[in-house]
Each structure stands twice: as structure tokens, then as C-alpha cells.
């Protein structure tokens, strides 16, 4: 195959960013006339393989190995490296997940092949792919091309593509074998945990009500919480709110927090600094309320209100109820 998509397990399902990367790979395959395949790996990945085989991914490669029962950077990097050597793809596509950031650079180093990361789009120019990524903290775009021979490792940023657009299909599943030895894995992982009881997965929320510095003080946070409850949504925030200690870090959206693409993102008193915007710009509908008409959040908002969030929030909660 020409394009190998590496899929990630997220609680027994394909990670959302993996589905998004399939859309990117399908676009590349169509434009460049290339074939694709998708890799699933773990100790038991029947469910994942089955889900992948329902998509238009050419074929599904299944690697099952006891040493992959828990994630390790060493085990995953070695597996992907060996599959690449066996299948010899030109492009290897990942979602830019935290796990991928942890092990894919090792694959790049093992093969001495480039890893072009965190791309927001891909275009074709003269039969070659050009990858566009944000640089300088999101202030500039940069068009990047690989040089030399492939394989080229590529990751796409969260919400670069809409996961709903992944073409369905019926891809055959093929078993692949890799040689792993326990001595290769130099790390021991403990069970994942959440910092606080009732931690939240903002990435799967349909509605997010997010507060920024403009909320004024900690005492105003409950106003936003009530609005989120009235809408049946989750409460989130920008970084300054977390740094000030008004909300726990689990609520943070942005480059150092979670990346989300809900049906509606309601930004309350958020200026729209790029570190925040990279985490929410993929939202289907962005509604921004801010007293500053020049706030950059309005550049990406679908609906904007110039006004005082503290006046509007309680009345809006009332209006919805």
C-alpha cells in the first residue's frame, strides 16, 4: 500500500483523531491515485479491526502481541517501524494525539525519515503532497514538504478533517506479525488515573460553555456553570482561568489543554488567543460574547455578541429554562 494509517485505541473504539486522519488519507489517496491501508495494534484488537474494516481504508492490518497489552513508547514505536518495513508505504498517517506525540518521533528516529506534525491541511502540487501547519504559536501558516525518499510520517491536527466524512467501505482484515522482545520495553506503566473525581472528557461533549478572563472573578464561575447545565453542556475554560485557580486544569481548552470540536462552543469573555483557538476552532458553531469588539475570537466566531457577559449569562440561562 502507498498510505498507511495508524489507528489508536480509545476505550475500545477508534480514536476520533484517527477517524479524522482517515479522511485526510482518503483525500490524499484520491488526489494522488494512491492505495491505503489501516493499522490496528494491541493485545486484542478484534473490535478495532472490525470498526476499521467498515471504513473505506483498502485493507486493515492487525497486529496482536501480548507485549502491546498496555501502551509503551518502545513497544508501539518498534511495532510501527516493523510494519512500515514490511509494507513499505510512502506516507504513514497519524492523528496528532498525545500518544502519537509520545512514540511516533521514535519511529522517525529509527528510520531517519521525517515526521511532519500537526498539519491542518494537505494539498497536492505537481504530484506531491504539501502539508500546511501552524507555526509561531499559531500566528503564521507554513507550507512544508518532505525531501528525499519516503516513507514520510505525517500527523494531522485535531479537527483538521471532519470524522463524519470518513467514507464507509468493507476492507478485508489481514494479520501481521512483528518481533517484539520484553527487553525492548524499557518502561513500566501504571494504570492511568484522573486527577479529581468526576473528571470530564470534553472531547465528546456536544455543547461546551467556555469561560475566559472576562468572567471577572471566581465567584462568577457558577453563573457559567448554570448556563452549561441549562444547555445540557460541559463547562470549560481558557488557560488564564485555570492559572488563576478558578477552575481545575481538566477544564482547560487549548494547546496545553484539550482540543474539542463540539456542535456548539459558547465562548464567554474569551479574547481568542491562539493558544486557546487551536483547541476549539474545529467547533461546528462558535458563539462568542465579549465586551471588546476587537477581540480576535470574533474572527473565528459564527455568531458574535459585543456585550457584558455578566449581564447576559444569567438572563440567557433564564431564557433557555
Amino acid at each position: 500500500m502507498d498510505i498507511l494509517i495508524v489507528l489508536e485505541d480509545s476505550n475500545g473504539k477508534i480514536h476520533r483523531m484517527g477517524l479524522e486522519s482517515i479522511v485526510g488519507a482518503q483525500k490524499m489517496a484520491e488526489e494522488l491515485g494512491l492505495s491505503i491501508g489501516a493499522l490496528v495494534m494491541g493485545a486484542n484488537v478484534d473490535l478495532l479491526a472490525e470498526e476499521a474494516s467498515g471504513l473505506n481504508v483498502g485493507e486493515v492490518l492487525k497486529v496482536e502481541n501480548e507485549l502491546l497489552s498496555t501502551y509503551s513508547a518502545d513497544g508501539y514505536a518498534e511495532t510501527v517501524k516493523q510494519v512500515i518495513e514490511q509494507e513499505n508505504p510512502t506516507y504513514v498517517i497519524f492523528g496528532h494525539t498525545y500518544q502519537v506525540r509520545d512514540y511516533a518521533p521514535k519511529v522517525s528516529a529509527k528510520l531517519m525519515k521525517p515526521f511532519i506534525v500537526d498539519n491542518v491541511s494537505v494539498t497536492t502540487n505537481g504530484g506531491n503532497s504539501v502539508f500546511t501547519k501552524l507555526m509561531f504559536n499559531g500566528k503564521l501558516f507554513s507550507d512544508v514538504t518532505p525531501t528525499g525518499d519516503g516513507p514520510y510520517l505525517i500527523s494531522f491536527q485535531s479537527a483538521a478533517f471532519s470524522s463524519e466524512k470518513a467514507d464507509v467501505g468493507s476492507a478485508p482484515v489481514r494479520d501481521c506479525t512483528v518481533n517484539l522482545d520484553v527487553s525492548m520495553i524499557r518502561t513500566e506503566s501504571e494504570e492511568p488515573f484522573q486527577e479529581e473525581a468526576g473528571g470530564i472528557d470534553l472531547t465528546s461533549a456536544d455543547i461546551i460553555v467556555s469561560v475566559g478572563r472576562g468572567i471577572g472573578k471566581e465567584g462568577n464561575i457558577p453563573l457559567a456553570k448554570e448556563l452549561a447545565q441549562a444547555l445540557g453542556g460541559e463547562l470549560a475554560s481558557s488557560r488564564p482561568v485555570v492559572d488563576a485557580g478558578w477552575l481545575p486544569a481538566a477544564h482547560q481548552i487549548g494547546s496545553s489543554g484539550q482540543s474539542v470540536s463540539p456542535k456548539m462552543y459558547l465562548a464567554l469573555g474569551i479574547s481568542g488567543a491562539i493558544q486557546h483557538v487551536v483547541g476549539m476552532k474545529g467547533s461546528k458553531n462558535i458563539v462568542a460574547i465579549n465586551k471588546d469588539p476587537e477581540a480576535p475570537i470574533f474572527e473565528i466566531a459564527d455568531y458574535g455578541v459585543v456585550g457584558d457577559v455578566l449581564e447576559i449569562i444569567p438572563k440567557l440561562t433564564e431564557g433557555i429554562q
Binding site: 500518544q99 507555526m135 509561531f136 503564521l140 514538504t145 444547555l231 455578541v305 431564557g319
Partner: protein
């Protein structure tokens, strides 16, 4: 916990400050670096602090601040020395437009061949390129174990335990055999300011200058440009009551979340 003599390298990078202008060169290949106001990369500052705290907790050891870049990069090495790093290494190279982490990590790997570091700390990613790979590739090239996005570290018994940040508010403790290369997330400690004594003392500390030969990149920049927004924003206006009414209507009929 016993005492260990740890030799720690911290990679510090000079990057444009958040308020710095970023004019694009007329050939669109890169920014005009002469007009940029540089600072130490944010997460590198936390990486440095973590290294200094480990050395202080273990009574002895060495923290070496290393930077790759043109002459101006020595400023961030001096800053690290003023905060308490023991010595510096400057890999001197014009890095304008050089984006390939494989090449960058190779320069560090060559320089570190005979250093035998127990630990390499890097910031999670640089605020200019945002590749987030150099420390992990470097670890791999030197045969070290690696981990990314550390929110806490514990050193002891020939290992480093790292609290890794996962997605969506999850964490995981991972134990790595030494030597190890670990990338550090912002916010895991409170970086110190240099003292006057530290600033004076830094002038006497050694900065070794290394000049590598230029290597071929495996990825390169074709063009840099300012993002263009083509989004049409519907502005909702009126009295607070009117705004609220229109918002509820928009939620119900346009966005369909009510």
C-alpha cells in the same frame, strides 16, 4: 530516597516572545529574524527548573544548559547559568528556516556523544516551530528511554518516574530506566528568577562553543504566510433582552441545540 549524582542536560531554545513582531521576509521563506524579540522557550524554562530541583535534592550533580542557534542563542544559555545551571554548550549554527527535528536532534546527539548524561530534559515543544520531537528523537539516537509531557518527576534507584499527561484530564505514572530523555510540560513547577549573585556568577561559568557542519534536511519550509479568515460572523445586537431572545432563537433554530 538515597542520593544520586545526576548529570542532566537541559535543551534551552531562544524563540520569539508572545508579543514579538513576526514580519515575513520578502521571499516568504521565513520570518525576518532581525525584527524579532527573543525569549527563552516557555516549557524549556520549566525543564530547567525541574533539572535544578533534582540536582539540589540530590546534593550533587551537574546541570548543563545546551542551545542550538546563532550567536544570539548564548543569551538563553547565560540566563540558564544565572538561574543555577553549572555550564553551557552552544551549538553555533544559523538556524533560520531550519525546521527538521531529525537534523536538530542529530546535532545534539553528536555533541553529547562523550558527555554520558543520565537525563536529558527538553520543553514539550518550541513556541516557534512546535514540532515537539527533538528530545524524543535525541533520546532514541542515544539509546535512551523516553517519555513526553511530564507533569511531575521522581528520581531514584537508577530510574526516573514520570507523571505523563494523557488526554482529557488523565495521567499516568511511567517508570523509565536511566539514561532517559524526558520532555517537560509547562506548569509542573514554579521556575525561579535569577538572583543578582547568580547573574554575576554566570559570567564566570563556561560556555563551550561547538560548530557543526550543515546537514541536509528531510523536511523543509516552502512558504510562510499569515492565516486568512474567510468566516462571516453574524453579529447579534440590541438590548440585553433582545440579544438573549435572539441567542435562544439561534440556539433553537440555527444551531439546533435546544
Amino acid at each position: 530516597m538515597g542520593f544520586y549524582t545526576m548529570k542532566i542536560a537541559v535543551l534551552v531554545k531562544q524563540v520569539p516572545g508572545t508579543e514579538s513582531p513576526l514580519p515575513i521576509q520578502s521571499n516568504q521563506n521565513w520570518v525576518d529574524e532581525g525584527a524579532v524579540a527573543y525569549v527563552m522557550n516557555e516549557s524549556d524554562n520549566y525543564a530547567l527548573e525541574e533539572a535544578l530541583q533534582i540536582r539540589e535534592a540530590n546534593d550533587e550533580g551537574e546541570v548543563v544548559a545546551v542551545s542550538l542557534g546563532p550567536d544570539r542563542s548564548q543569551k538563553v544559555i547565560r540566563e540558564a547559568l544565572a538561574k543555577g545551571a553549572d555550564r553551557g554548550i552552544h551549538i553555533q549554527l544559523d538556524t533560520a528556516g531550519m525546521i527538521d527535528p531529525l537534523v536538530t536532534a542529530s546535532y545534539f546527539a553528536d555533541t553529547f556523544k562523550d558527555e554520558n548524561f543520565d537525563l536529558i530534559f527538553t520543553g514539550l515543544q518550541s513556541d516557534d516551530l512546535g514540532m515537539g520531537q527533538t528530545g524524543i528523537i535525541l533520546g532514541e539516537l542515544l539509546g535512551m528511554s523516553t517519555a513526553s509531557m511530564a507533569m511531575a518527576t521522581e528520581v531514584g534507584g537508577g530510574k526516573i518516574k514520570v507523571k505523563r499527561e494523557l488526554e482529557a484530564g488523565w495521567f499516568q505514572w511511567v517508570s523509565l530506566s536511566l539514561p532517559a530523555s524526558v520532555s517537560i510540560q509547562s506548569g509542573l513547577n514554579v521556575p525561579r528568577y535569577p538572583s543578582l549573585k547568580g547573574i554575576m556568577g554566570a559570567k564566570k561559568k563556561e560556555i563551550k562553543v561547538v560548530t557543526p557542519s550543515v546537514a541536509n534536511q528531510s523536511q523543509s519550509v516552502e512558504k510562510v504566510y499569515v492565516p486568512q479568515s474567510d468566516k462571516q460572523t453574524v453579529m447579534i445586537e440590541g438590548s440585553v433582552e433582545q440579544i438573549v431572545g435572539k441567542l435562544v432563537e439561534t440556539f433553537r433554530n440555527e444551531i439546533k441545540v435546544l
